[in-house]
Every structure is written in structure tokens, then in C-alpha cells.
């Protein structure tokens, strides 16, 4: 069924305690696409990802992954379907070595990358295996956070602000890695504040405001819509 999207979110509402964060988000990601969520701080981008992963458990509406409904599913089963998550704060464990961090997420499907392939993609991680995870630089921690998902065989990757707080050289390196992943056939949903970076990679962009998706812009029409986008993002 090439026409069914890989990830299909419809009328998603999510709550933190009493506060209502998402008000009916709808979007879809097709197999092999790289899609970004753009928007200002607090628009609900991160919450959307956390709702997909089940971390935000108070949610209504529908999140379908390859036709399987994720709303109501036990949290630990979501990753088992083949979704890899790279959180905004990277989530490198300080009590684990780099190698232990790398091999922590269980393999959920065949077809994941080998450690050798991962090292080829992120040469910075080579020879650092026994280092304490949080001793790596910010950029290396970001690479590690992405790398550990690639082993698992997950084919949809949720990347939350992979370039946040990183130096331009490192951002470039991350960008190359994401391109390489795209060529390998990974499907990627990415939160990004830096829309210039997003424009170099993504196929389509969803714009979020106050817990809604307000617009969808294909990457090739980005230039034509740049004024609109500036108003959305306030840049």
C-alpha cells in the first residue's frame, strides 16, 4: 500500500496534567520522507513527538504507524514497532560508557546498521567506547544519540532539534549524516528551529502554532513562501 502514509496523526490532543498543549494536530509522513516541524518555542513540536512515543500519556485522537494505532498502546511497545526517538536533551546516560549507550536500545527489527557502519557515519565515536557517555562534547553526544537508534532497525526516526546549541561545523556534519540516512531509506520526522538547516534536508515542512498545524510547505516552494514563513516563525 504505497499510498498509506507511514505515520498518520489526526486530531491529536495532548495534556500535561491540567494544561492542554496540543489542540487537534494533524500531519502525515510518507515512507522515505524527511519532514520537519517548524514553529516557535511552545508551539507544541516537542510535545507532538513525545505524544507519538507515548511519553505524554494523556492524549486523544489518533496516531497511526503503518496502520497500527498508537494511542492507548503501552509505552514500551511503541519503539518495538520500529520507531526510534532522539530526544531534545539527547538523553546520554552518565552512568553508562559510550559503548553501553550505543548498544542500550534493544534491536527491534532486522536490518539495523552495524556498529562498523555507524562508526563510518560518525567517525568521532571511534575509539571512544569506554569513555563515560556524558564526557563527550555536545556535538558528539548528539551523534551518539542518533547513532544508538540506527542499530535497532527502527525505520522511522524522530529527531528533536538535532542542531540545537551546536557549532556550525558540527551542524554540517550532522546534516551530512542525516542525508546519508535518507539515502539509506530511513524516514525522518524532525523538529527544527533552524529552518535554513531544515531547508537543506527536508522534503516538506509543517508549521505549528499554539498546538495546531497551521500550514504545510513543500521544500521546493519554500522560497515562494518565505515571507509567510517569516511571519510564522517571527524571524
Amino acid at each position: 500500500m504505497p499510498d498509506t502514509p507511514m505515520l498518520e496523526i489526526a486530531d491529536l490532543h495532548a495534556f500535561y496534567g491540567e494544561s492542554h498543549i496540543l489542540h487537534g494536530v494533524g500531519l502525515e509522513v510518507r515512507q522515505g520522507e524527511v519532514v520537519t516541524l517548524l514553529g516557535r518555542n511552545g508551539a507544541g513540536k516537542t510535545t507532538t513527538m513525545r505524544a507519538v512515543m507515548g511519553i505524554v500519556s494523556k492524549r486523544t485522537g489518533s496516531i497511526r504507524f503503518r496502520g497500527t494505532e498508537l494511542v492507548g498502546m503501552a509505552q514500551h511497545r511503541v519503539a518495538r514497532l520500529g520507531i526510534g526517538y532522539v530526544p531534545e536533551e539527547r538523553g546520554i546516560f552518565s552512568s553508562l560508557s559510550v559503548d553501553e549507550n550505543l548498544t542500550l536500545p534493544p534491536v527491534v527489527k532486522p536490518g539495523g546498521m552495524t556498529v562498523a557502519q555507524i562508526h563510518e557515519l560518525f567517525p568521532n565515536l571511534v575509539g571512544r567506547g569506554s569513555t563515560q557517555g556524558t564526557r563527550l562534547s555536545g556535538g558528539e553526544q548528539q551523534m551518539l544519540a542518533v547513532a544508538r537508534i540506527l542499530r535497532t532497525g527502527a525505520d522511522l526516526i524522530l529527531l528533536d532539534e538535532p542542531t540545537e546549541g551546536l557549532a556550525p561545523v558540527i551542524i554540517e556534519q550532522i546534516g551530512r549524516a542525516i542525508h546519508a540516512l535518507k539515502r539509506r531509506g530511513f524516514t525522518i520526522l524532525m523538529v527544527e528551529q533552524n529552518f535554513r538547516f531544515a531547508a537543506t534536508i527536508a522534503d516538506r515542512h509543517y508549521v505549528m502554532e499554539e498546538g495546531h498545524v497551521v500550514d504545510m510547505i513543500p521544500n521546493d516552494q519554500l522560497a515562494a513562501n518565505s515571507e509567510k514563513l517569516h511571519t510564522y516563525l517571527g524571524v
Binding site: A79, Y85, E100
Partner: protein, 295 residues
């Protein structure tokens, strides 16, 4: 008579041996407490009671089923661990979103129930438990006589402690445990069933207490109140060591046991309170504990 610092060496080494045995139990129990605390953020007040239940399980297995020491060494901790799993599933798991003190209060209540019930059924006097045949007798080490069983207790608890340390610090399963202690949400998002891990961790921690109980049975007799004062000393051990480190729990437990043994020779009146005095001093100098991290 041979003396050392004016103390007969026989008495000195005898007390140090006793201290080392007590220390082995402190180490096993504080290790279990530390493992549980790391994962659940609960101080398990029922730990002493479950140590007692472990000893009673061994005794009951022998009385009613003729099951001897060696199978009991496996079965009793298993039973205690199973009890822990049920306790965690039905009660403790409801409290994680509340203040951590509620976990302490709940397990305190459980300790009272267990100790009260066993006391009601079996009376306050101890039941003897025989030393297994293979470990009767002892060795003359020249400077002292070492009963085989006591030597075994020290070796067995050291092996258990170090094995636990290895499992947590050096294996894949241990990596899950450490990671889940740090950030359970993310570990769950990687597809690991953290609630089940939490349950099993509690089961494992209390199984360690049950094992300590079986090891203790031939030494101290099986008594409903055998864990009741012990648990308070173990709390002091935990405060002294700090709960950050597994090795710290082991070292502190053994060290304080030895110190107590020494006090019994030098100044017997103070042997009961020496651990608490050390705790007070450590709190003054290094409040986070000897191996603890300030949080």
C-alpha cells in the same frame, strides 16, 4: 597467653570474626536497600522483616517438607523475592507519583505486619536451625579457631555482593538498570518495559535480604524479631556509605561490622552504639556519606 595491645589475640580475632560476619549481613542488606532505592526511590523498611522471613522460610521448609539447607538457600530467597514482586505490583507501584516518604511508611506497615504475624504464630523465642553437615567443624588457623560455617557465610556473602556489583556495573542487564535509574522515561521510549524492571528489581533486592536470612539462620537462630533492630543499624550503614555506589554499600557494611567487633573487645558497652556515633561524625564531616554524591 598471646596478647596484642594488651588484648588476648584469641578474643580479639574472635570478635573481629563476629564483626566480619555481622558486616557481611550489613553489606548484603544495605546492598539490597541501595539497589531498590536506586530504581524505586523507596527506602524499604520491610527489609529487616524480609530477612527474618527468609530465615523462617528455610526453617519451615525443613520442618514441613524436610527440605535441607542447600535447596533452601535457593528456595527461600525465591519465595521472599516472589512476595516482594506481589508487594510491589499491588501496593508500592501505586505510590510512585507521591512523596517518597509514603513508600517508607507503607513498608514500615508491612514490616509490622510480618513481624507481628510471625511472632503471633511462633512466639518470641528463637527456633534453632542446624548447621549443614558439610560445614560442621572448623579450622585451626594458628592464631584463632575458625568454624567452617562462619567462614562459609563470609565467602558466600562476599561472592553474592561482588556478583551483584558485577551484574549491575558490567553487564547489559545492569546497563538497563543504571540507565533506568537515571532516566526511566527514555529507557521506556527505547522499548524496554520499565515497570516490569522496577518490579523485578524490588523482587531481587528483597531476595538478597531473604538470602541473608537463610545464611544467618544457623548462626543466630530463627527469631521473629531478628530483623527488627538490625534494619535500623543497616539504615545507619546506608547513611554512612551514601546510596550512590554499590561498592560503597559493600565496603561500608563490612567495615562497620569490623568496627563493631573491635569495639566489643576494646569497650564492650559502646559496641551497640558505635555505628550510630560513626553516622553522626560522618554527617558532620561529609553529609552525603562516604561514597555518596550530593544531590
Amino acid at each position: 597467653m598471646v596478647t596484642l595491645f594488651g588484648i588476648p589475640t584469641q578474643a580479639l580475632f574472635g570478635q573481629l570474626l563476629l564483626g566480619l560476619i555481622n558486616g557481611s549481613f550489613y553489606a548484603l542488606l544495605s546492598l539490597g536497600l541501595a539497589v531498590i532505592f536506586g530504581m524505586l526511590n523507596v527506602i524499604n523498611f520491610a527489609h529487616g522483616a524480609l530477612y527474618m522471613v527468609g530465615a523462617f522460610a528455610a526453617w519451615l521448609l525443613m520442618q514441613h517438607f524436610g527440605i535441607g539447607y542447600w535447596p533452601a538457600l535457593l528456595l527461600a530467597p525465591l519465595l521472599v523475592g516472589l512476595f516482594g514482586v506481589v508487594l510491589e505490583k499491588t501496593m508500592l507501584s501505586r505510590l510512585y507519583k507521591l512523596d517518597h516518604l509514603y513508600g517508607l511508611l507503607l513498608t514500615f506497615g508491612v514490616a509490622l505486619i510480618l513481624e507481628g504475624a510471625f511472632r503471633h504464630w511462633y512466639g518470641a523465642s528463637g527456633q534453632p536451625y542446624p548447621i549443614p553437615d558439610a560445614l560442621r567443624g572448623g579450622q585451626n588457623l594458628g592464631f584463632m579457631f575458625l568454624p567452617n560455617y562462619r567462614g562459609w557465610v563470609i565467602v558466600a556473602s562476599l561472592i553474592t555482593c561482588l556478583g551483584t556489583w558485577y551484574a549491575i556495573e558490567r553487564t547489559r542487564l545492569g546497563a538497563y538498570l543504571r540507565a533506568a535509574t537515571e532516566n526511566p522515561t527514555l529507557v521506556q521510549a527505547f522499548g524496554i518495559n520499565v515497570p516490569v524492571m522496577v518490579t523485578l528489581t524490588y523482587g531481587f533486592g528483597v531476595a538478597l535480604a531473604g538470602l541473608a536470612g537463610v545464611l544467618a539462620a544457623p548462626i543466630y537462630q530463627v527469631n521473629p524479631l531478628m530483623g527488627s533492630n538490625l534494619i535500623v543499624v543497616v539504615f545507619a550503614v546506608v547513611v554512612i556509605g551514601g546510596m550512590g555506589s554499590i561498592l560503597g554499600a559493600i565496603v561500608t557494611g563490612l567495615g562497620l561490622g569490623l568496627l563493631e567487633g573491635l569495639a566489643k573487645v576494646v569497650y564492650p558497652e559502646a559496641s551497640n552504639i558505635v555505628v550510630f556515633v560513626v553516622m553522626a561524625i560522618v554527617l558532620l564531616i561529609k553529609p552525603a556519606g562516604l561514597f555518596g554524591r550530593e544531590r
